[in-house]
Amino acid sequence: MSKTPLLEIEDLYARVADKEIIKGFNLTINEGEVHAIMGPNGAGKSTLSNVICGKPGYEITSGSIRFKGKDLTKMSAEDRAREGIFLCMQYPVEIPGVAVTTFLKHSINAVRKYHNLPELDTMEFVKMVREEGKKLGIDNEMIKRPVNVGFSGGEKKRLETLQMNILKPSFAILDEADSGLDVDALKVVAEGMNALRDGKRSMLIITHYQRLLEYVVPDFVHVYADGHIVKSGDKTLAAEIEKDGYAEYTRER
């Protein structure tokens, strides 16, 4: 069975300010696949997710990123999201004064509009948020609060997952590069991601520890050091790293 590539990164070089962080990075993720990228602290793991999602301040100096065959590097951050890329953030941003419902409504309708779908009216929207929220243990009080303001770590992750479940992206990036998330919060996200696994959607998990990979089992594991992938394998590679650490890979360069 031939595989359809979803995300294709070729010989990518990128920098922040004057510092080259990504150096010759190659990765292809096909439809339905779950990949994990593991690496030591400071390897540039978060840079990778930010570059894929189009965060300002990152400059691609050479190489290419294609998503569904389209050149991502020419797209604004919002268009990448509308095309189906979702970044589940390590540290979700607090937005004082903007209620979760307001935020979600702008988000879902911006994406729908991009795909020439009619905007959801308030009734449809509220119904959907309540249903999806219920599955994650998000109550009505929480969605009236300002986005992430005063949220616990677990609540923040639940809100990220709620957004992911509402937007139903074709490609989700879970950036947990260095976060010391508690197990309960981790499970919430993992369950959300597993619920989206349907053999068509793809995922990229960026993590420091193997822990998360026990909940979302990847098809492929890559070790990332010094700006590129130094070793690839299946899920057993994650266990090896957990046992032996990253020292072997950081020395190699």
Binding site: A77, E78, F86, P92, V93, I95, G97, F103, A110
Partner: protein, 468 residues
């Protein structure tokens, strides 16, 4: 002819005590002159952009009413020369509509002109209409215990005599002095003892800006007797030529009796080249509360100045404001809170959003007199700068002569947060839309201070950046 000082015939010259105030106003303005960049209270406000040379003052409505003859009359259904309303119909209806001969219904009971219909507030209210600074009858029917008249009527009956000109000190304010000199239009509102007005009282001044740059003055006198409660809303707006440089010069004198409560809201939405200078002075007796919110979003120079005299114990005032601007505008929020008795309380939150080459000014003064012990005064100003050329000038002043007081002030300015913008973009929200959401949220913190939810919702609809 032109300029701020013009010879105009006003109604009521034969009333000595009243005419004396006008004369005093003219003399005081002549002595003070226009503020210069060296005038401390005005140093940040670019008055050189005021452009007063070609200002036109329209003739008095009160006099023209008497002047109307059969030939000049509106040609509608009146036969005895004057149609009875306050308008000179030679150029069409007050509302700016040109009525066919015999088709002027603007003063018929219940008639609301087409253009006026657009100027209804979206909440139940007693609405008083002004056009270019001149009141348009009729008044709505007010409940018992709420007395409203036009200022001249209150001058003739001497209802206004006790307080008119005695709350605002014109020696300190050239534009207030000028306002004195032209005193004629405005309302007198008195809420009797323990009467609680059931709906907000709204003053809408609409300016249909045309070729001429009109200069008008409005003076309102608002008296709440002991235990009275009311909400007063001012709304200044325009239709017509965006570039009209009309000038609105406004003074409110407000007296709050013991335990009286006034909520005072204002929306300044003037034409972009127009100028709007307003002063409200509030005198408060014991246990009274003044709750104020002003949103400024229009005008070339817009200044909203609020001075509160907390004269007696346990009087409290909240003076909050928001402003949003772009282009080349200067929007100035000036406050002066005087704690003159023990245990008086004030708080201020002012938030602004400044884009383009615009300039925001906040001057906030808290004065605590020597015997005003156990007093609390709080002040916070925050501004969001949307461009490199936007400017903000902040001058907080604390004058504390008493011990045992709690006083705080703070000022901060910043730009939109890139992380917040990216977070929203990463959820598919366009960058410009994301900016707008953040700006709304920024101003919402100030708008949240508006107690009346309907008025808050109404003001929120205007808390967006005007198109450049």
């Amino acid at each position: 002819m032109g300029g701020l000082v013009q010879k105009v015939k006003l109604f009521g010259e034969y009333i000595p005590w009243f005419q004396a105030m006008r004369d005093k106003g003219a003399i005081t303005f002549d002595e003070l002159g226009l503020p210069t960049p060296k005038t401390e209270a005005w140093k940040y406000t670019k008055l050189r952009d005021l452009n007063t040379d070609d200002l036109v003052i329209e003739p008095s409505n009160f006099l023209s009413e008497m002047r109307v003859t059969a030939e000049e009359a509106c040609g509608c259904h009146h036969e005895d020369g004057g149609c009875g309303c306050h308008h000179h119909h030679g150029k069409g209806c007050c509302c700016g509509h040109h009525h066919e001969e015999g088709d002027c219904h603007c003063h018929e009971e219940g008639h609301v002109c087409e253009c006026r219909q657009k100027l209804q507030v979206p909440f139940d209210a007693y609405v008083i209409h002004f056009e270019k600074g001149k009141m348009i009858p009729p008044f709505p029917d007010f409940p018992r215990g709420v007395e409203v008249m036009n200022l001249m009527e209150a001058v003739i009956t001497e209802d206004a005599k006790e307080y008119l000109g005695k709350v605002a000190d014109i020696k300190l304010h050239p534009f207030a002095a000028l306002n004195n000199a032209y005193m004629e239009e405005g309302i007198y509102l008195c809420v009797h003892k323990n009467v609680k007005v059931d709906k907000p009282i709204v003053l809408i001044n609409h300016t249909k800006s045309g070729e001429e740059n009109i200069f008008f003055n409005i003076r309102n006198l608002i008296v709440l007797e002991q235990g009275a409660e009311a909400e007063f809303v001012e709304w200044y707006n325009y239709t017509g030529a965006v570039k009209s440089r009309y000038f609105a010069n406004l003074v409110n004198e407000i007296v709050l009796g013991k335990n009286a409560k006034l909520s005072h809201y204002k929306l300044q939405d003037e034409a972009f080249k127009a100028n709007h200078i307003a002063l409200s002075v509030v005198k408060q007796k014991a246990d009274s509360n003044y709750h104020n919110f002003c949103l400024q979003r229009g005008a070339n120079i817009g200044r909203n100045e609020v001075k509160v005299l907390l004269n007696d114990e346990n009087a409290s005032a909240e003076v909050n404001a928001a402003y949003i601007m772009s282009g080349w505008a200067t929007l100035d929020t000036t406050t002066d809170i005087l704690h003159l008795s023990p245990r008086t309380y004030s708080s201020q939150l002012v938030k602004g959003v400044v884009g383009g080459e615009a300039k925001g000014v906040f001057q906030g003064k808290i004065h605590i007199a020597q015997d005003a012990v156990q007093t609390e005064g709080k002040q916070l100003h925050r501004a969001l700068l949307l461009s490199d050329t936007a400017e903000i000038d902040v001058k907080p002043e604390l004058e504390i002569f008493a011990d045992d007081v709690k006083c705080s002030h703070g000022a901060a300015s910043g730009e939109l947060d890139e992380n917040q913008l990216f977070y929203m973009q990463s959820r598919g929200i366009g960058r410009e839309e994301a900016k707008q959401i953040l700006i709304d949220a920024y101003l919402n913190e100030a708008l949240a201070k508006v107690k009346n939810p309907e008025i808050r919702a109404w003001l929120s609809d205007y808390a967006h950046a005007p198109q450049e």
